[in-house]
């Protein structure tokens, strides 16, 4: 079975819902683990990486959570396959660059995904839609406890789980939530929020993690420190911060609608206008405009538009997903044309946004 046959269709993936999906797109907990004595992937020779892969992969496949799974060596995946996995947030960009000696195991509902020989021997992650950090922790903790019976982890009583980079030392945990924050961006409060979150020792990153842009007003909030704090406390702290950011986002949306309804409607109306009518559009512009459409759905401006369609378009308009639909290798320009065709087609049945008539700003004219 190929990875494409295995993965949920973008439409199904977009339909996954969890608590607070309006703002929290997904929750993720990653644990870094290594095998005692074996050189870390970045330092190990190819033969040694392959040996580690051969020990680790069957152990992961034997997990009950992995009963129905897709398991493959990275050298058996095409570059396009790997990039699609990146666009689905199942693997990191670093892992997409790996070949012989690295591997991937992901389960049927895409809630558990293990990268083998990325920066560490194991990078296992539990994924959940919406805000479900505690559930994700339970899932990954269970999987990890099962694995430790079969694998001899590198562990020191003083330093905890030993990782390739000292920044992950101790618990090896990274707790993160992907947040859609158009209100905070439009009201220009996002920088304040980022700074406040940084002060708490947490990181704010872009759509694809470390060192990436904040496309489509999507931000990832995650812990930085991994040593000297218990996992549950880290999860709890992040959960609290996410709840606070959600509140700020809701407040920002509320006050924008109250004070500058025209600005909000203008942004959303233009986003709709371009997405539904353009004949050439880049992936970056698409994401930024889809974000505004998503905001429009949240504000009930699009009675006949489902949030799942917006989220599906978020996935399928990305460069590699688009390329996958066509057999010929496309240039960026060709992709922009096809992306626009797809958007016009998919948004054909969506009527233009209708702001509620009871706009409090009486001075603003409506036609």
């Amino acid at each position: 079975m190929t990875i494409h046959e295995f993965l949920a269709s973008p439409a199904d993936a977009a339909r996954r819902e969890g608590p607070n999906t309006k703002i929290v797109m997904s929750s993720r907990i990653r644990l870094a683990r290594n095998i005692k004595g074996a050189a870390f992937p970045g330092w190990a020779k190819k033969a040694e990486r392959i040996k580690t892969l051969e020990i680790v992969r069957p152990a992961i496949e034997s997990l009950t959570q992995m009963e129905d799974c897709f398991s493959e060596k990275m050298d058996n995946l095409t570059l396009l396959d790997k990039n699609i996995l990146v666009e689905r947030h199942l693997i990191s960009r670093e892992h997409a660059a790996k070949n012989a000696g690295s591997g991937l195991v992901v389960n049927r509902d895409e809630t558990l995904c293990v990268m083998i020989n990325e920066e560490d021997h194991l990078r296992m992650q539990a994924l959940r839609p919406g805000l479900q950090l505690k559930q994700a922790w339970q899932a990954i903790d269970t999987a990890d406890s099962r694995l430790e019976r079969r694998l001899d982890y590198a562990f020191s009583p003083e330093l905890g789980y030993l990782t390739a980079c000292p920044t992950n030392l101790g618990t090896g945990i990274r707790v993160s939530a992907m947040l859609h924050l158009p209100g905070l961006v439009l009201s220009e409060q996002i920088n304040q929020i980022i700074q406040a979150v940084n002060k708490l020792g947490l990181a704010v990153r872009g759509l694809y993690g470390e060192g990436t842009e904040a496309l489509g007003n999507v931000f990832q909030v995650s812990n930085q420190m991994t040593l000297g704090e218990v996992e549950q406390d880290i999860v709890e702290r992040l959960n609290k911060v996410v709840l606070q950011i959600m509140e700020h986002e809701e407040n920002a949306r509320g006050s924008l609608l109250e004070k500058k309804p025209k600005t909000v409607y203008n942004h959303i109306g233009r986003a709709y206008g371009i997405l539904a009518n353009a004949h050439s559009i880049s992936s970056k512009e698409t994401m930024n405009l889809l974000s505004l459409m998503r905001l429009g759905v949240d504000l009930t401006l699009f009675p006949d538009l489902d949030r799942a369609l917006v989220d599906e378009l978020f996935i399928v308009t990305q460069p590699n997903h688009l390329q996958k639909r066509f057999s010929d290798k496309l240039t960026a320009e060709e992709r922009d044309l096809l992306r626009a065709d797809m958007l016009r087609e998919r948004l054909r049945g969506v009527s233009r946004p209708r702001p509620k008539p009871a706009a409090p700003a009486a001075s603003e004219k409506t036609t």
Binding site: F40, F155, L169
Partner: protein, 192 residues
């Protein structure tokens, strides 16, 4: 001026995010717009550095060669600290052959044993990087058992000493046998 750990390197070039950071002036020349934003934690204090592209390049922040990855990831001055800790001589991991020069280049260690080999230099780094320098989280079950066995061994040893001093040789023989089996169990756990 750039010392201590780089806690978070904010490189948000997105249109929206840019907008949020727009208008911030470079804190060195105070003329051009800051494009590189660094947040560092030095001890308890947090420092923010916002640099324009010119000043960033001058400080070597934009130049990957002048700004070693270890420094970038582990705090500015990280590689010097490692060098000092080793007393100038080159430390090499006995298990995998990784050297601190490799560490300086990669910002990653070679294997789990490197933490023992480079322990001196790492101590200071961990302090700037993490909440504490001792692990308090999850422990693998096998390690927990080993810890229990080690504790048990200690108490058995005490009982043995007492039995000997009380000249209770029957009890002492019992303790000696139990210590032997506990030791065997422990070494089984730690060698596999």
């Amino acid at each position: 001026m750039l010392r201590g750990g780089v806690e978070f390197i904010c490189l948000l070039h997105g249109r929206r995010a840019d907008k949020a950071l727009k208008g911030m002036l470079c804190c060195i020349c105070k003329e051009k717009e800051a494009k590189v934003h660094l947040t560092q934690i030095v001890g308890e204090k947090m420092q923010k550095v916002d640099l324009c592209e010119g000043c960033a390049a001058q400080k070597g922040v934009n130049d990957p060669a002048g700004f070693s990855l270890a420094d970038l990831l582990l705090g500015l001055g990280a590689s010097q600290e490692m060098e000092q800790a080793s007393g100038g001589g080159e430390v090499k991991c006995p298990n995998c052959g990784f050297t601190q020069a490799d560490f300086k280049k990669a910002g990653r260690l070679g294997c789990s044993e490197c933490y023992r080999a480079f322990s001196e230099g790492l101590e200071g780094l961990l302090k700037t990087m993490h909440k504490g320098t001792r692990h308090v989280g999850k422990v693998p079950q096998s390690q927990l058992q080993a810890r229990e066995l080690a504790d048990r061994l200690k108490s058995l040893q005490k009982k043995l000493d007492k039995a000997v001093s009380d000249e209770n040789f029957e009890q002492a023989a019992l303790m000696r046998d139990e210590i032997k089996t506990t030791r065997e169990k422990l070494s089984e756990l730690t060698t596999t």
